[in-house]
Structure formats: C-alpha cells, structure tokens
Symmetry: C2
Subunit: 368 residues, 2 copies
C-alpha cells in the first residue's frame, strides 16, 4: 500500500476523530476509495474501534440507478435504518471519490431534491458528533482537476498529510480578528462589493479535523445583514452539472437577483431548494497555502490561499452565537471569490487582507 494512504488513514483516526476504544465508526465510501477504506480498518482496529462501512449516498452509478427509477414522492420520511445508524454511531468518516464527476448528471433535479431532503435529519445528527469529510484521489476527481491521476494523488496527499498544529497556529491570527469583528466589507475588482455583519457570531479554526484537508477560518453572517453583489470566479458543481460565472445580488440577507454564464437554470433550481437556500450560511477564508491550484473540488478550493467563499444555505451551529438565528437549509453550497488581485477585505473599517495577503503575514502592504 502507498504509505501516504496509511498516513491519511492515521490522520483521520488520530487527528480528526481521536477515536476511542469501543467507538462505532461509520465509513461512507464508494468502491473507488477501497485502499483508504482498508487502511482505515487497520487504524480503527489498532484503537479497538468498530468500523461500519457503508456506500455513499451522493453521486456514483448506484445512486444514479436508484434515483432514476424511484418515485420522488415514495418516501415521506427519512428511512428508519438511516436514523438508527446516525443515532448509534460515535463518529463518521465521509470519503469523496469518483471515476466520473458527472455520473448523476442525467438524474432529474426533482428526484435529487426529494432524496436530499430525506437526509437532512441524518446529516444534522451526524454533525452533532465527531465527523470528518475527506478525499481519495480517484481518476474522475483527477480529471475534473485537469491533472493525471498520479499528479493529483501528489496534490491530495500534500494537502492532507501535513503539520496541522502549525496550520492551527497560523489561522488563530484571523480567528482573533473575526471574533472581535462586527462589520465586514469585501471588494474584488468591479464585480464584487458585499457587506455583512458577523456581530455575535463565532469564528472557527478549521485545522483539518472536520474537513481533511482543512485550512480555513469560517464564520456565519447575521442572517439579514448581507447586502451587495458578488461574482464567483470558480464554477460550482451541483447535481452533476457545472454552474459557471455565478453573480448574486443580496438585499437584507436574501438573493434578489441571480445570473450564471452557464447552467443558469441549475442555479435557479439550487436557490429553490428551500426558503433558506437564498441566504448566506457561511463566510470563509481559505488559508491552506499547500493548496496551490484550483481543482474544481470545493473541499480543496475553499481552503486555497487568496480566496474567500460564501455558502448559500445551511449555517454550521458552532458559528452561530447563542442569541443569533441559525440559517437552516437542505443546501450548503460554497462558492468562491478569487481575492489574489485588485481585492481587499475590511473589518470595521480596517483593511485586514489585501490581494490575498493577511495583515499578519509578510508581504502585506496596506497602502498598495
């Protein structure tokens, strides 16, 4: 076995989840990720924990075959077996890997939406416990990244097998700024100029425990505070389709105008998932400087340095202050703004990032 796969599994079991003896651990993984599934079984065995391997419910030919045949109204409630698993397990590992990122591209959006709603209670229950989402370098993901499978594997393992304590320390600088912040103003070129309040919200230091790779600091805006317009530089993958050139206009926290250069109808469908899908659930800053290129994969792209991202839909509970509203939605769709050129972020009137570089990093020049 590739020793990097072993190291990846060790990082998941020890660093991300700190698995204890007797823990029951779900591993949700497609066949493409079998090497990592095997390595996880070894590391869970070492800790006397019980691995429970299940298939992935998103993407892949099995999910496609099911959703194309299913009557979208067939299930009114979440299947009991899913609720039972979510109740019983102590922690969860979700592994992305596919040989074709467009595998569910010919499933009707209605069927996908109906199925996604069934999973909401399960997702919420899983996320209240220890969990981590990660990536295995499968051929389809390499193709989406426009890389050979071997070069993509190098990219993935550079990003996931790293010194997470050092990364945490670096990111803590931004956490301190955001935890004291109220008003945020983000400008990039002529196309993005958006403001929001994070007053009373919490900034989270993602040091690779819930996402592997980690490498971001994220918080949630006050729900009705988002105002202005944003152009997203990177395409968004949703239900097997690439939505490119997304532009959103916000008023009082809600999307009031939307457009896309490609697959605008998919964007419209995304905003229709539920009422809360038109609101922003997350503001994040990418800070993993070992991720040096976009790969059309949000797990990595949102962590890349010189970027910020907004997520439409669900807000993570840990980012929402006790007296603040949590935006709850079936959707959580991260979308990225490139901040590397002609861009800045102000916090309560002070510039804290310019052209991607933070005030606490070498090379920051407020007058530039």
């Amino acid at each position: 076995m590739d020793p990097r796969v072993d190291e990846h599994a060790r990082t998941i079991v020890e660093h991300c989840l700190d698995v204890q003896a007797g823990d029951e651990v779900v591993i949700a993984a497609p066949p493409e990720a079998q090497d990592l599934v095997v390595a996880l079984h070894e590391h869970l065995g070492k800790r006397d924990a019980f691995p429970f391997h299940i298939g992935r419910f998103q993407g892949g030919p099995a999910n496609r075959a099911f959703l194309r045949r299913l009557d979208p109204d067939a299930f009114e409630h979440t299947p009991g077996v899913l609720e039972a698993v979510a109740d019983e397990v102590d922690c969860s590992i979700a592994i992305q890997a596919t040989s074709n990122t467009h595998e569910v591209g010919d499933v009707s959006p209605g069927a996908q939406a109906a199925f996604q709603r069934l999973f909401e209670p399960v997702r919420d229950a899983i996320m209240e416990k220890r969990w981590v989402g990660t990536q295995y370098p499968a051929s389809g993901n390499a193709q989406a990244a426009e890389m050979s499978t071997e070069a993509y594997a190098d990219f993935v393992y550079d990003a996931v097998n790293k010194d997470w304590a050092a990364q945490r320390e670096f990111q803590e600088n931004l956490v301190e700024i955001l935890d004291d912040a109220s008003q945020i103003h983000i400008v990039s070129g002529d196309t993005t100029d958006v403001s929001m309040s994070v007053d009373g919200m919490h900034a989270v230091n993602d040091d690779g425990t819930v996402n592997l790779p980690g490498g971001e600091v994220f918080t949630a805006p006050v729900v009705d505070s988002v105002t202005g317009e944003v152009y997203f530089d990177m395409p968004v993958m949703w239900r097997g389709a690439e939505i490119e050139g997304v532009r959103l206009v916000f008023e009082d926290g809600e999307v009031v105008e939307h457009a896309a250069e490609k697959n605008e109808d998919m964007l419209t469908g995304m905003l229709d998932v539920d009422e809360q899908a038109t609101r922003v659930g997350e503001l994040g800053f990418g800070m993993n400087r070992d991720i040096t290129q976009f790969t059309n994969n949000m797990l990595f792209d949102e962590k890349m340095g010189d970027t910020i991202h907004l997520a439409l839909g669900h807000a993570y509970e840990e980012t929402v202050g006790a007296d603040r509203e949590q935006n709850k939605s079936a959707l959580h769709m991260d979308m990225i703004v490139d901040m590397s050129e002609d861009s800045y972020v102000e916090v309560d009137g002070e510039v804290i990032q310019r052209n991607g570089t933070f005030v606490f990093e070498d090379g920051f020049d407020e007058q530039a």
Copy 2:
C-alpha cells in the same frame, strides 16, 4: 451492463424477496460486486424501496486489516449499530464476491472466532426476516473454481437465472418423502455410513428464495440421533483455509472422532467454535441439475445433483419441529458427500436415492 446482471438483480428483488414499496433493504456487498449493486439499486428504485449498501464483514482486505489489529477481547457485545440495522431493515441481500478466497488466511482463528460471535444476534435477527445470499462472478471465485472469469460468469448465471417454479415442482417430490420420514440411512462407498432421525422435523423446498442459486431440499436431524461415520469428498473453506478429506464419527448426535487430510488443526478449531458446533444442524439434498461441476463454493456445490450435505452447527428454525430442540451455534458449516457412485439413501427402510438418482426421476433402478 451485462443483461444477465440485470436479470440476476430482478430475480433477487422480485422472486427472492418480493420487495414492497417502502421496504428498507440492506445490500451487503464487497467492491468486486459493484455491477450487481448498481443493478439492485435500479430494481429497488422501481419498487420504491430504499437500498442501504454496506460492506461485507467476512473475507476481503478490509476485514483482514481490522481483525489483524483488533484486540480479540475488545468487544464484549455486538456493536449497537449492527443491532440497530438488523432491527430496522425489512430484508437483506448478502452478495459473495472476492478477488482472493484466501484473503483472511493470515488472520488468527481466535480473532475470527471472537468477531463471529459478535455477529450471532445480528444473523439471527436478519434471518427472521426476508433475506437472500447470492454470488457475483468475481475473479477469485473463478480461480477457486479453476475456471476463467468469463466461463465462471456463464456458470453462475446459468445457475441463478432459471425457471424457479419448475425447480420448485421437481423438489416437492422429495419434500413429501422427507416430511413423512422418520429414519434416514446414508451409505456411500466404504467411507460413509450414517443414520439419523428426522421425525417431527420439517423439510424445506429451497426454490432460490433464500439462496440464489437455490436447488436443494433440506431438513434438520433430531439433535442426538446422528450415529455413524461420514467422509466428505469436497474440501471445506473455513477462515481462508481449505480443509480437505474430512472424516467425522458421530455418537448420540455428537462428533466423537475427527480427522482431515489437510489442515486438521483448522477442523479442530471449527469444532471448538462452541459446544453445538459438534452437532449436525442440517441434512440437505442437492437437486439443481444446472450446476454440473464442483466450484469450491458451498453456495453452488451443495445444490449440485448427486450430492448430499450435512452442516455442523446451527439449525435453521424453519426446519425444526415445534416440540424439537433447535441446535443453536455460531457455526453453520456445510460439508458435501458425493453420492454419484456406489451410494444410496434409505428412508424408513426404503431406498429413495441410488447413485444420485431419486426414486421419482427417470433412471432410478432400485435393484441396481
């Protein structure tokens, strides 16, 4: 997709399980069987049932990696997640498929035994509902059969995709004989001469609903009635090892002597699984004449014409009369006697099978 895979999936969903709308269906399958998993998702979708795909717990590199690291005493109780799944689901599909039948050959028998005990309550709960065990033609199974993978696929699909109503009718002849029977006497060559009572027990017509392929009639002996000696012609696969040339001597229903020409220590370990592992839980007659050769795979071998089999260990509940003891064991190990030559079976003093041919088949000659 190979249309035979689609037909196999349809047979499982419609004939074996008669899946209903709203059913929650476990599919336990290794990565090798992914084509069949996809086809099952399609047929379960057609019936508006929910597929829940989990990994296999026996054999395979993940199970091996786990069991080699696990402290065998780590789990005192069945993991809660397994009990919860067994409680919640309506029916189960277990798919065998491997790229190496010896994959768990270097796992200690102690670790395997400890793990197997954890599964007993789950197996019992699953078997009280609708369930089916079947085979996908993977390369390791083809190798064990000493066949090319393509020729093995032909063999598998000939055996599973057939007219099960006609098979049921053929087998009903033997069910009628056994249901009225008391004493059974089985003789083959100089090496097998064993008697047992089936008085008050029930004969089951396996028409491919719980095993696919099916094609046997089976019952259980009265627990303490088995007396005599048996030589088993086909090797037994247990925990990654082939046990060959097994000879057992029974007195008052228990194994009092055992020997094997190869891996006798594994046989000894098998008999040590628990106290009930030394008793016979099943007597079966192979009747699927589309299975024309041994393939070192009990799912098929035990259904082959001209054979009988005894299983050490667990007796299936449906074969045990209301006032009879059910042998309950963590083991259920079928072992085969070739009855094609120099052999006969007597039921209450009358010969009902000679050299593999039944009294109700053409070619039977009681005087031969």
